[in-house]
Symmetry: C2
Subunit: 321 residues, 2 copies
């Protein structure tokens, strides 16, 4: 039930999008490009590079095109991007992204606040975009925000999650991501929703986008794994966050997640050593400490030498006993 | 499998012992007493007040007797203390503690480094202490450090965990705590060890003492819950830590744990609101930020008002469509 037994888990790294998006200081384009190129060498199967949102709405990602043109694309890595509307999709297609991750919220209030459209308007736009690019070879994914709760509305009706999933899959979305945008999910809820999604849409690719806002990020991941999920978003260093929870941590941390998966016997294809090197550069790039733990504590199997004075203690103890 | 369905979970709060123990600045006795008195009003069933270790070894807890004499004992709360040796047990008995939590490590190297005795010497002393106090009405518990790994030796033989558990239970220990002293456990391992403990010692009280050093604290808790564990140590604010992992977080955070348990439908008997008030005083007491998340982010069900500008956005969106 718990051991990974080699099961393959697919990680999508989102720190340069979901993490940098809320950084108060603009991360220079060259630093973004350098980090993505470094991440490309770790074995990560997918990187969500940036967001093609309005530069006015998200000025920290106003260099989306430059970043996409600046990176060196490694074979085997899918370079994805977030797209909140039709204009964003056009911009993404112009720089030949590999995958478009469309986003809307299943909470009406959250969708209005973030995208300034009703859910119906967003869903119609996204479905149209999916249909428009379906034959271009570019994959689309649909991320549904606030699936596990909205910070303004509270619990969201599960029926709405299934309704929008169904419409976007019917339009041709390659997969659905259930997003815990502000870290409101708990393990019992995550397990139940993953099971229900898989029952309703048995052939659709399902990803979980979980945050650690209330400390439950990896517990929710564990519940999702047990319910059969095998695709997860995560951010290097656990960057990201939620404007409603200042001081709280952000996304599930990629290196902490990969570490847990590897020690449990899952397969990620990622070189954790290289990933930890990336993570250890991150505080310098963003100018502050980051929430990730394994980069500070080391891996479980990184052992420490005995202190020099222990030999004498051991000798004395043996003499006594 | 996941939902709590009202199952009672017993929390032992350890921040004034495991947390304050490694604080670089001495927490004044009056502040310790005030915090314990505040914690006593939250519904916590057990508080590990302090450690009767050598004041030279742990100067931050050199006021163990004063703290015990200073607190106001609430009915229904068990006031426990850590005891590493016979001398400590005598001191604890002198101030009439309710419970003695004896400690040794299942790793020979770790036991020598922490207690300056071999495991055999420690186990013999602890067994003797258990037998000595058995008829006094004072409960004993035995905490086994490094059950899930030793930072110097690596994995510890499970057979040693069962051997020392068996000897201490046979001597009359009221329960065993399996301790992940330096945060090396992972969920598959925790589930396996909880199941094996319950198979071998079906009538013994089992507690888990988990740390969040590598971010897996609540994931390990979830695994333990699913394997049938119902007693957990935790520290307010997630204080505590491990000298081998500077910068990493400490014990599983009490308020984050209680929050997860409550939203999943378990029963703790603890008033989370009062507990969060305690947690919000903690940074002032210790003079620095603490790792706990829920005290910063609020509970899942603490909703936020809509921004004032949303009414206009909603109106405009509706006009469009």
């Amino acid at each position: 039930m718990f051991a990974g037994q080699g099961r393959q888990i697919h990680i999508c790294e989102v720190t340069t999008r979901d993490g940098f998006q809320i950084e108060p200081t603009f991360v220079p384009t060259a630093a973004k490009v350098a980090l993505i190129d470094e991440l490309s060498r770790t074995g990560l199967p997918k990187i969500e590079v940036t967001s093609f949102a309005s530069p006015k709405a998200i000025p920290s990602l106003r260099d989306a095109e430059e970043v996409f043109r600046g990176i060196t694309r490694a074979s085997g890595v899918i370079y994805s991007c977030l797209v909140p509307n039709q204009r964003g999709a056009e911009r993404a297609l112009a720089v030949k992204v590999d995958e478009i991750n469309l986003v809307m919220s299943v909470s009406e209030t959250h969708n209005l606040a973030n995208l300034r459209m009703t859910r119906e308007q967003s869903c119609a736009q996204l479905a149209e975009t999916i249909r428009a690019v379906r034959h271009s070879g570019i994959v689309t994914n649909a991320s549904l925000s606030a699936c596990f709760g909205c910070p303004m509305e509270g619990l969201v009706a599960e029926a709405d999650v299934w309704r929008f999933s169904e419409r976007l899959l019917a339009a041709g979305a390659g997969g659905i991501s259930l997003c815990d945008t502000t870290g409101m999910a708990h393990p019992a809820q995550v397990a139940g929703m993953v099971e229900e999604f898989r029952r309703r849409f048995p052939t659709a690719a399902l990803a979980l986008h979980l945050h650690n806002t209330r400390g439950m990020g990896l517990a929710n991941t564990l519940a999702a794994l047990q319910a059969g999920a095998d695709r997860f978003d995560a951010s290097l260093g656990g960057l990201g966050g939620c404007p409603y929870a200042p001081g709280a941590t952000g996304n599930v941390c990629t290196e902490d997640l990969v570490h847990m998966l590897e020690v449990m016997g899952f397969t990620t294809g990622i070189d954790l050593g290289l990933l930890l090197e990336c993570a250890r550069h991150l505080p310098e790039i963003v100018g502050h400490d980051v929430p990730g733990q394994v980069a500070k504590a080391g891996r479980i199997r990184d052992l420490h030498p005995e202190p020099a004075w222990l030999a004498e203690v051991r000798e004395k103890a043996r003499e006594r006993g």
